[in-house]
Amino acid sequence: MGEVIVITSGKGGVGKTTSSANIGTGLAKLNKKVVLIDTDIGLRNLDVVLGLENRIVYNLVDVIEGNCKIKQALIRDKRYETLFLLPAAQTKDKTSVTPEQMKKLTDELKQEYDYIILDCPAGIEQGFKNAIAGADRALVVTTPEVSAVRDADRIIGLLEANEIKQTHLIVNRLRPDMIKRGDMMSSDDVIDILAIELIGQVPDDENIVVATNNGEPLVGDNSLAGQAYMNICRRITGEQVPFLDLEAKKGLFSWFKKK
């Protein structure tokens, strides 16, 4: 039986879709059978981040409305055989799906796949409710900014209220130089405020932009962000992986040389 994981944040633009793409791809790299679902109906993006935008025939709403079978709508990834995408509809809106329908869909996919990753839309309205309906656990993405952390706190409260048992935090776009200067909160500061367990700290990395330009997630490559995302994937599967020391410049450099 697989696990349904929702990736959410409250605030927009903190890296939910990028994280979803990298975590889905990373888990497939670890030989897991993965379905990525873009639940941001009307504003689909996960397809372009994965470079699969030209292969879409059917979408999430088609599956829900019964216009096609699940298998027909799933797009196989270009590089990884065990990775599939269920894209969002672009011409519908979030009210075309209900939480009950989403739960039924994820329950069905769980029978056959190891991980169902749901890319949640920003906000706390219908789209959010749909995305968390069938989730077993949640990954909350935030950046070390007051606005993003505040929204993350709200989301954590809502996840608790909806009885999502396991919630972990990803702190994205960390800048070790700024943290050292005292001009950015560290991931320790953020966990201290939010009081939830950390599962990943991802540095601000130019390679993410390049990877998105190319439509090929960088998880598992030699970049710092690529390593950070791979570590998150291994932690999701239950492995104990120490956190990269992003703050120490020297440590970072020697770590680079090791690779």
Binding site: P144, E145, V146, V149, R150, D153, R154, G157, I179, R181, G182, D183, M184, M185, S186, D189, D192, I193
Partner: protein, 93 residues
């Protein structure tokens, strides 16, 4: 306050942390702005019986009580800073 603290400017990440801690306490206590406004006007009304209050300078907020001041537990607390212009000593009590 140490003399060194006087020269050391608070870092912006410390400011961010302090601001976040404050805002999250009121978020979590789900104390709406309307409710705060009601508390505020009721406090003013009561105090006005005894003193002339500087209404512009009032600062009322829900914050977190420091753990050390509260036997190791942190709890929400109402903080009010209300400047008084004049005590109404001759008011009929």
């Amino acid at each position: 306050m140490k003399i060194t603290d006087f020269f050391k400017k608070k870092s912006s990440s410390d400011i961010a942390k302090d601001r976040l801690k404050l805002v999250l306490v009121s978020d979590r206590a789900s104390c709406s702005p309307e409710l705060m406004q009601k508390i505020r006007s009721d406090i003013i009304e009561v105090l006005s019986k005894y003193a002339e209050i500087d209404k512009e300078g009032i600062d009322i907020n829900i914050t977190n009580l420091d753990a050390e001041d509260n036997g190791g537990k942190s709890a929400p607390a109402l903080y009010a800073n209300i400047p008084i212009k004049n005590m109404n000593h001759n008011s009929k009590l």
